[in-house]
Amino acid sequence: MTSLINRLCRGLILSTLLAFYNTAFAAAMDMRPGVTDISQRILQIHHYSLAICVVMGVLVFGTMFYSMYAHRRSKHPKPADFHESMLAEIVWTAVPFLILIGLAIPATSALREIEDNSNADLTVLITSSQWKWHYQYLDADFGYYSNMSTPTEQINNLETKSKNYILEVDNALVLPTSKKVRFLTTSDDVIHSWWVPDFAVKQDAIPGYINEAWTRIEVPGLFRGQCAELCGKDHAYMPIEVEVLPEEEFDQWILDQLLAIELASGQAVADRAKTWTLAELMDIGQTVFIDNCATCHEADGSGQGSTYPALAGGEIPTGDMSTHIERVMDGAVDTEMQAWAPQLSDLELASVITYERNAFGNDLGDIVQPLTIFESR
């Protein structure tokens, strides 16, 4: 029996080791070096402290295992009777202390540099809300929301998961290479944390606070990160995508954005002037609903308990229209129902409200025109 247990244990240990060995090649095991000077210095500090821990561990555990082998009763039947040594206590207090000083020096110098937010070339205000990021370019004075673009079908295992599953967004943050970019972070609701491992930037976004961080990225490319602070239901679905462009391309991108904003405001005027049919609004409304509302209220409007009320036959979508418009535009205070007026266009708001009043069997026949929304703003 004992030998069977021994054999079982041995087999188990071996297969575990083998599993580790195999996965070691399939998955990343170490901190990412990243693409900034700071991220690489942090990696060095990480390796340095890890090496010290490993050496200490080998010494201490090595001594322990040697002792367990050599000083077991069958080999060493008579225990020694020493139990105190001032010298030993002083040595193993002083030596670790000196090692710690050796660790604190590089950490302190790196930290002083990380916390130096002065002389930025460009500032981006990052405002978080459940569960999306808003990027405002303070110098060029424009901004936009960035939402996860992974479809719910992939999350619910109905479709094959894409390569960048839950790490992809509709509108990435765009940054230039070689510039000192300062991030200001704040939040509209609960605490979130903006983290891109390749930049080694992790900064909490806290309501009522504006925090600072900075980075200087030397290589162009796409970099991904996630929200790092538990922020409610969809904390896992709040990715960050940063596209880093060479300086000239970045300047061009800014100009393109400003032009697009001009065009969109022209389009908004045209949208207001037009009288939309129910079918047109329902069509647009469905897309807006799936992208923004379905994560809580569900695609069929059935909601999730009392936290996320059902819209099918719901009190507000089947009640007074102006209350409905107000709720969607201004949200409900201190709940996850946020104000959508700053996030969606007049047409999008009009169509999603129309959709809610006519889909899920609500069938009120009501139509909300973009002009009504414009006047409610």
Partner: protein, 535 residues
């Protein structure tokens, strides 16, 4: 002192007798047993929640738990493990052991002792009942950061607040009882520096509890008034400060993590000398190290908050103070190794768990040191690296400490020896499973997986699968533990009064099982060798 051996009053139905015995008992051994069974029960409940978490994380995508339910599991698992398993587990051990170790007939305040225990079942009923409420259980993590827990919390948050209040009252009363008992009821001749290390570590733990539990009570009270009485302590909209919540919480929370480990240090310091057949090395430095750790624990709460936008000077201070804790902690580990050095060791189950405790706790200590380095913490913070770190100090740390204590003293409590073969099987399966569960989490965190996420991107799939398989094994091994404990209670080889051939301490001078009332007359101290020899 005249005592009757049996509390049962004749002419009562067995059920009433049973209930009144356990409801009204003021005996430290019976109350200790109640605490330990409560802790064990909640261990399986919170463990089942961990199984839900690991099942959901077995593969990317959402399979078993909707995000909101997943967050409830994460929250309740943490809260119950901390407040319902480790803390009552250690208090149960304190109840059973402290009076026997210091030669006292009972705790100093026996009725208070009964009261502090019986608060707990109500506290946890309140907390767990929130799972069945409209809107679900608390879903904001065991750290319940505002404003997610205040203005955004589900309605059941109020039950959570009341539950935490009750747990806090129970802990403070229990801690006062322990302090009073240790200061007043030690046998003549047992000066402070002659107390067993378990008594010392519990004395320090009790002081930590008395100092920080009221801070937690303050935090939840401010939450309650923010939620219902129009205050804005933590709400930026009303001029309050969400970061204040984190300061208050971690001012409680950091000493709290030492509350969860110091009694474990004491247990290892009792067990290792017994099985090395050699006195504990550096008794005095062990005491001083524990006191230093406790004092430093009040200065380092900021290391949980490096990413909240702390100023440079504060970050540096907290980093240095945190690194400093490695010194006394190192001293303890070196002393344990020196105790083993040139001893004459055997490896019964309690010793195996104690050695597992020392090694794996030290690994958790190493990652703790790494986390103290602020620049690196910007990468580690709120990732699975942190999850790996605190599970290494809590599972193979605190929980292994409790398990080694149970194996070590169970023969004293029950009068029966546990099944050594099964005990060893429990240890070896647990140590493989615990490492398989938590070691890959280091890799996940370093590679960039945030903690508390219900779903993850594809590069994290392999290690999550390994961790989930390990967690399943770990859950099963604890069913084996339950079986071993029940089997020992029901029978087994009779234990002698000393149980272990070179165990030292007053508890080994009384018969096994320990009679309900011990030390009606004060024992002799220092213990004469013949005191161990009466059977």
């Amino acid at each position: 002192m005249a005592v009757t051996a049996d509390h049962a009053i004749p002419n009562r139905s067995p059920l009433i007798a049973f209930l009144s015995r356990w409801l009204l008992t003021t005996n430290h051994k019976e109350i200790g047993t109640l605490y330990l069974w409560l802790s064990f029960t909640l261990f399986f409940i919170a463990g089942a929640m961990a199984m839900v978490i690991r099942l959901e994380l077995f593969q990317p995508g959402i399979q078993f738990a909707e995000p909101l339910f997943y967050n409830q599991m994460v929250t309740m698992h943490g809260l119950i493990m901390v407040f319902g398993v480790v803390m009552p587990g250690f208090v149960g051990l304190a109840n059973w052991l402290l009076p026997m170790m210091i030669g006292a007939p009972d705790m100093a305040l026996p009725r208070l002792n009964n009261f502090s225990f019986w608060i707990l079942p109500f506290a946890f009923t309140l907390l767990i009942s929130s799972l069945f409420m409209e809107g679900g259980a608390p879903n904001f993590g065991w750290t319940f950061y505002a404003p997610l827990s205040t203005t955004y919390g589900p309605p059941s948050t109020d039950f959570f607040i009341l539950g935490v209040h009750l747990m806090g009252i129970s802990s403070v009363l229990g801690a006062i009882n322990i302090i009073v008992t240790i200061f007043n009821l030690r046998v003549e001749g047992m000066t402070l520096m002659k107390m067993p290390l378990f008594v010392w570590t519990w004395l320090i733990t009790a002081f930590l509890l008395v100092m920080v539990m009221p801070v937690l009570a303050g935090a939840v009270t401010m939450m309650l008034t923010d939620r219902h009485f129009g205050t804005s302590f933590f709400s930026a909209v009303g001029g309050g400060d969400p970061v204040l919540f984190q300061h208050v919480f971690w001012f409680f929370g950091h000493p709290e993590v030492y509350i969860l480990i110091l009694p474990g240090f004491g247990i290892a310091s009792q067990i290792i000398p017994t099985f090395a057949r050699k006195k504990l090395f550096g008794y005095h430095s062990m005491v001083y190290a524990t006191v230093s750790i406790a004092i430093l624990s009040f200065l380092v709460w900021g290391h949980h908050m490096f990413t909240t936008g702390m100023p440079l000077a504060a970050e540096l201070f907290v980093m240095y103070a945190t690194m400093l804790i490695a010194v006394p902690t190192g001293v303890k580990v070196f002393n344990w190794v020196a105790t083993m050095w040139r001893g004459s060791m055997t490896f019964e189950t309690p010793m195996l768990f104690a050695i597992g405790f020392v090694i794996l706790f030290t690994i958790g200590g190493f990652s703790g040191l790494m986390l103290a380095l602020v620049p690196a913490d910007f990468q580690y913070h709120d990732t699975f690296f942190v999850v790996a770190h605190f599970h290494y100090v809590l599972y193979p740390g605190a929980i292994f400490g409790i398990m080694s204590a149970v194996y070590y003293w169970l023969p004293k409590w029950t009068g029966n020896m546990y099944d050594e073969r099964l005990g060893k099987l429990h240890f070896w399966t647990a140590i493989v499973a615990v490492n398989m569960t938590f070691f890959p989490m280091h890799f996940l965190g370093l590679a960039g997986m945030p903690r508390r996420i219900v779903d993850y991107s594809l590069q994290f799939a392999d290690f999550n699968m390994v961790a989930s398989i390990g967690a399943g094994m770990l859950g099963l091994t604890q069913v084996l533990f339950l079986y071993i404990v029940i089997k020992t209670i029901r029978g087994g080889d009779k234990a002698t009064s000393r149980v272990w051939e070179s165990a030292e301490g007053l508890e080994w001078t009384i018969p096994s099982p320990a009679p309900l009332h011990t030390f009606s007359a004060p024992p002799q101290f220092p213990i004469p060798e013949e005191a161990y020899q009466h059977d």
